[in-house]
Every structure is written in structure tokens, then in C-alpha cells.
């Protein structure tokens, strides 16, 4: 069962990433890989947000969470593209761009991971509080 969710998430994640990359490269052709940066930063946010907002209370939620995190976000984000683009920039003599890209990817990813964790925590507590008030 888990393979179905992971596989389906992988298909969706890879297609969404492909479409975003195609859109960015056709509408905004820059030498700086802004599309990979945006994808990785958004993925960092979504991963911690979903991991912290969905509780494995039910089996179905466990599978959905696995499909979204390991499948969708795993296929959506890309460390290999980030590495390759950095190496290409270094080989093309764009050293400043390469280090800026490394900094923005790591710092941005960490910041957005924390933002995902923080916002999930806040939303979860808010929903819990609303439930308690309703009872």
C-alpha cells in the first residue's frame, strides 16, 4: 500500500517540478537557476509543514503523509539539480553566482523549514483550541 502512495506522489511531484521548470525557463530565461531555488525552498517549507500538521493517528493519514512527503516532495525537490547547476556555474567562471546560489539554497531552505514547522505548530494549536471551545 505504501508503494502506491509513494509512487503516485513521485509521479505528481516530478510532473509539477517539470512544469514549473519549463514555465520559468520559457518566461524568464536567466542564467541564475531561480526555478530550482524556488522549488527547493518551497519543498523545504511544505515538508516540515505537512510532517508537523498531520498526525499518524489513522493508517490512511500515515499513507497520505508518506505519499506527500517521501513521494511528492521527494520528487519535487532536487539536490542533484542544485549540485549540477552549482558546478556548471563554477566551471563557467560565475563564482559569485555559485556561492550566492549555495547560500540562498541552504539558508533559504533552513529558514523555510523552520517557517513550516512554526506555522504548522501554530495552526495545529489553533485548531485544537477551537475544538476544545466547541466541546
Amino acid at each position: 500500500m505504501e508503494y502506491i502512495f509513494v509512487g503516485a506522489g513521485g509521479i505528481l511531484g516530478a510532473i509539477v517540478r517539470y512544469l514549473i521548470t519549463v514555465y520559468f525557463t520559457t518566461h524568464n530565461p536567466m542564467s541564475f537557476p531561480i526555478e530550482t531555488l524556488a522549488i527547493n525552498i518551497l519543498g523545504s517549507f511544505l515538508l516540515t509543514f505537512i510532517t508537523n500538521i498531520l498526525i499518524d493517528e489513522y493508517r490512511l493519514i500515515f499513507y497520505v503523509k508518506l505519499g506527500v512527503t517521501t513521494g511528492f516532495i521527494g520528487a519535487f525537490t532536487t539536490f542533484s539539480t542544485f549540485s549540477m547547476e552549482t558546478i556548471n556555474m563554477i566551471l563557467n567562471g560565475k563564482i559569485f553566482n555559485a556561492f550566492l546560489y549555495i547560500f540562498l539554497s541552504i539558508a533559504g531552505g533552513l529558514f523555510m523549514s523552520y517557517a513550516g514547522f512554526y506555522s504548522a505548530d501554530k495552526i495545529f494549536n489553533l485548531i485544537k483550541k477551537m475544538g476544545e471551545n466547541y466541546e
Partner: protein, 60 residues
């Protein structure tokens, strides 16, 4: 449309391979560092550049 089907197929295979590898390494690791993610990222970075650079796609 063909590209989207191929990308989807690759995403399916990649996600399953990553899940399986990650699960196997995680079960065997003895240190408290996510070595499975590290391993997958390093291998992926190597193969991505290797496949692009080797122009293996031109063979088909």
C-alpha cells in the same frame, strides 16, 4: 505530452527507489545521523551530472 509521461514515469521510479533505499539504510545504520538522505543526495548528484555529461541519451 510525451515529456510529461516520461517525467511522471521517472518520478514514480525515483520515488520508489529512494523510499526503498532510505528504508534499508535506516534499518541498518547505527549512528544518529540521517546517512540515508546524505547517501541518496550524493549518489543522485553524481549520476545526474554523469548522465548529462556522458550524453548517454544520444545513444537512443
Amino acid at each position: 505530452m510525451n515529456n510529461i509521461i516520461l517525467v511522471g514515469f521517472g518520478g514514480f521510479a525515483g520515488a520508489l527507489l529512494r523510499y526503498e533505499l532510505s528504508k534499508n539504510i535506516k534499518e541498518k545504520r547505527t549512528i544518529d545521523i540521517p546517512i540515508e538522505t546524505f547517501f541518496i543526495n550524493i549518489i543522485g548528484a553524481f549520476f545526474f551530472k554523469f548522465i548529462i555529461k556522458s550524453k548517454i541519451q544520444n545513444l537512443f
